[in-house]
C-alpha cells in the first residue's frame, strides 16, 4: 500500500464577530478582545416583542473585499451564511495564491459545513407567507435557503468543477467538512480542497428556538469556568485550503500547517447530552492519527461551549483519552471570544489554532470567573500564554452526539 498523501494548509480565511478576515480575528483572539455583546432580536410586526440576548455578530462591511472584486450583486443573491462562506473562501484562495489558477477547474473539491443553511431568508419568506398572508414566495428563496447554497456560490465564483458538496452535522459540520475534504485528496479525487463552514442563524425565530432548549447563556460564554450558564450564539465562517503537501511545496505555496488526521464517532445516545465514551473515542482516534500522545505538549482547542454539561464532559473525555500520556495540554476555548458559530465553529477554531501554533502563543479563555473542580483542564486564562506545542488537537462535539476531533501540526 502506498503511503498516504500528506496534506498542507496553504490558505485561510475567516469572518466572525472578531473581525472581517483571519488576521483581524486572530489579533482579537490573541489580545483577549471578545466579540460578544448584547443585541436586540426583533421578530417584527408579526412576531412577539423584541428580546435582548448576548451574541457575537459580524460587523457590517465584511463583504467589502469580495464586492470590490466581484461586484455587489453577488452578495445580494446569497443568504448571509453563504456570503460569509464565500468571503472566507475568497480570502483563503487569495492567500494560497490560487485565485484564477487552472487547478481550481478540475482537481479541486469544495466541502463546507453548515448546521442549518439560509435561516434569515427562510424567516423573511415565512413572515410574508404566514404573517402577511402573501401567497407569493420569492423565486430566489429556495436556492438561498438550501444548505448547499454556499458551496455552489464558491464553485460558481471560482470555476470549480470537481467534487462539491455540503456537510451538515450541527455544531460539528465544518469539522466533518474538513475531514471529508482531506479524504478526497487522500483518495486521489482532488489535489486541493476548499473546506470549512459558516453559519448565520442569529435570527429572531432561531434565537427563540435556542432559548427554548435552554442552551443560551444569560450574560456571556465562560467555558470551563465556575458559574458558566450556557453558550452564546456567534455567526461567521472560516475556510481553509487543503492541498497535497508535495504539490504545495513544489509551487512554493505558504505552508500554514498540516492536517494529520481525525477521529469521528457517534454517541447514538441522546439528542442534546454528550457521552464520555463517544467523545473520548473521537479524541483517541485523532491523537493516534496525529501521534499526539507522544508529544511533549499539545495545544487543545476545546469544543468548550460554556454549557455546564459539555465542558464537564469534555474535560473528562480529554483526561480519559490522554491517560498514560505525559503530554502537557494547554487548553483554549475561543468560543468565549467569537461565540458559537454552530456549523462554522470548527473551521474558525482551526484557523485560530494554526496561527497559535505558528506564533507559539495560546489565546486566553475570556470571561473566566475561576476554576470549576469538575473541569480538570490546563486552561489558558488571563492573557495569551507562550507555548512550545507544534501540534494541536481540535474538538467539535455536536448535538445528536456527532463527534469529530482533528489533529494538526504547525506549518
Amino acid at each position: 500500500m502506498s503511503s498516504r498523501r500528506r496534506i498542507a494548509v496553504t490558505g485561510v480565511g475567516a469572518v466572525s464577530g472578531l473581525g472581517a478576515n483571519a488576521a483581524d480575528t486572530w489579533a482579537a483572539a490573541r489580545a483577549g478582545r471578545g466579540g460578544i455583546a448584547p443585541h436586540v432580536f426583533d421578530g417584527g410586526q408579526h412576531g412577539p416583542g423584541p428580546v435582548t440576548l448576548p451574541a457575537a455578530l459580524a460587523a457590517d462591511g465584511f463583504q467589502a473585499p469580495l464586492e470590490a472584486r466581484m461586484g455587489r450583486k453577488v452578495s445580494a443573491s446569497l443568504d448571509r451564511f453563504a456570503l460569509m462562506g464565500l468571503c472566507a473562501a475568497f480570502e483563503a484562495l487569495d492567500q494560497a495564491g490560487l485565485v484564477g489558477d487552472a487547478a481550481l477547474s478540475e482537481r479541486t473539491a469544495i466541502v463546507l459545513g453548515h448546521g442549518q443553511g439560509g435561516q434569515e431568508t427562510l424567516e423573511k419568506g415565512y413572515e410574508r407567507f404566514f404573517g402577511m398572508k402573501s401567497p407569493r414566495m420569492h423565486p430566489a428563496m429556495v436556492p438561498k435557503v438550501m444548505v448547499s447554497g454556499g458551496v455552489s456560490a464558491v464553485a460558481m465564483q471560482f470555476g470549480v468543477h470537481g467534487p462539491v458538496f455540503a456537510t451538515s452535522s450541527a455544531c460539528a459540520s465544518s469539522a466533518h467538512a474538513i475531514v471529508q475534504g482531506a479524504g478526497l485528496i487522500q483518495a486521489g479525487l482532488a489535489d486541493i480542497a476548499i473546506v470549512g463552514g459558516s453559519e448565520a442563524i442569529a435570527t429572531p425565530g432561531s434565537m427563540a428556538g435556542w432559548q427554548a432548549i435552554q442552551a443560551l447563556a444569560e450574560t456571556t460564554c465562560r467555558p470551563f469556568s465556575q458559574g458558566r450558564d450556557g453558550m452564546v450564539m456567534g455567526e461567521g465562517g472560516a475556510v481553509l485550503i487543503l492541498e497535497d503537501l508535495d504539490r504545495a511545496r513544489a509551487r512554493g505555496a505558504p505552508i500554514l500547517g498540516e492536517y494529520l488526521g481525525a477521529g469521528m464517532t457517534s454517541d447514538a445516545f441522546h439528542i442534546t447530552q454528550p457521552s464520555l465514551e463517544g467523545t473520548a473515542a473521537a479524541i483517541r482516534q485523532a491523537c493516534a492519527a496525529g501521534d499526539l500522545f507522544a508529544q511533549e505538549e499539545v495545544l487543545v482547542s476545546a469544543h468548550g461551549t460554556g454549557t455546564p454539561l459539555n465542558d464537564q464532559n469534555e474535560a473528562a473525555a480529554l483526561n480519559l483519552a490522554f491517560e498514560g500520556s505525559a503530554a502537557r495540554r494547554p487548553t483554549i476555548a475561543t468560543k468565549s471570544a467569537h461565540g458559537h458559530l454552530i456549523g462554522g465553529s470548527a473551521a474558525l477554531q482551526t484557523v485560530i489554532a494554526l496561527q497559535a501554533l505558528r506564533e507559539g502563543l495560546a489565546p486566553p479563555v475570556l470571561n473566566f470567573l475561576g476554576p470549576d473542580p469538575a473541569c480538570d483542564v490546563d486552561l489558558v486564562t488571563g492573557e495569551a500564554r507562550p507555548i512550545t506545542a507544534r501540534h494541536a488537537l481540535l474538538n467539535a462535539f455536536a448535538f445528536g452526539g456527532l463527534n469529530v476531533s482533528m489533529a494538526f501540526a504547525a506549518g
Partner: protein, 83 residues
C-alpha cells in the same frame, strides 16, 4: 401611502444593486442589467413598504427605466390613502 419618483429610484438602486446615478429615465432595463429577479425583489419590497400587490406577470413589456417608474408610481399612488 404615496411614493415620489426620487424615493422609487432610491429603492430601485437598493433592490437591484445599481449605482443611483446610473438610474436615468432614458436608460434601458437591459443596459442597467435589471433582471426579472431584480424586478420581483423590487415588487416584494414595494408590497412590504407600500402595501401594493403588483404581479410581475401583469407588468407590460417595458424598455426604459422611465416607463417602469411611471407604471409603478401609477399603481402605488392609485391606492386609496389610509388615514
Amino acid at each position: 401611502m404615496t411614493i415620489t419618483e426620487p424615493q422609487l429610484l432610491d429603492l430601485i438602486a437598493q433592490e437591484a444593486i445599481i449605482d443611483r446615478e446610473k438610474l436615468t429615465r432614458e436608460a434601458t432595463l437591459g443596459d442597467l442589467a435589471i433582471s426579472s429577479l431584480d424586478v420581483i425583489t423590487l415588487l416584494f419590497e414595494l408590497e412590504e413598504r407600500y402595501g401594493v400587490v403588483i404581479e410581475e406577470a401583469d407588468m407590460p413589456k417595458m424598455q426604459t427605466l422611465g416607463e417602469m417608474v411611471d407604471f409603478l408610481m401609477e399603481r402605488i399612488n392609485a391606492q386609496p390613502e389610509k388615514s
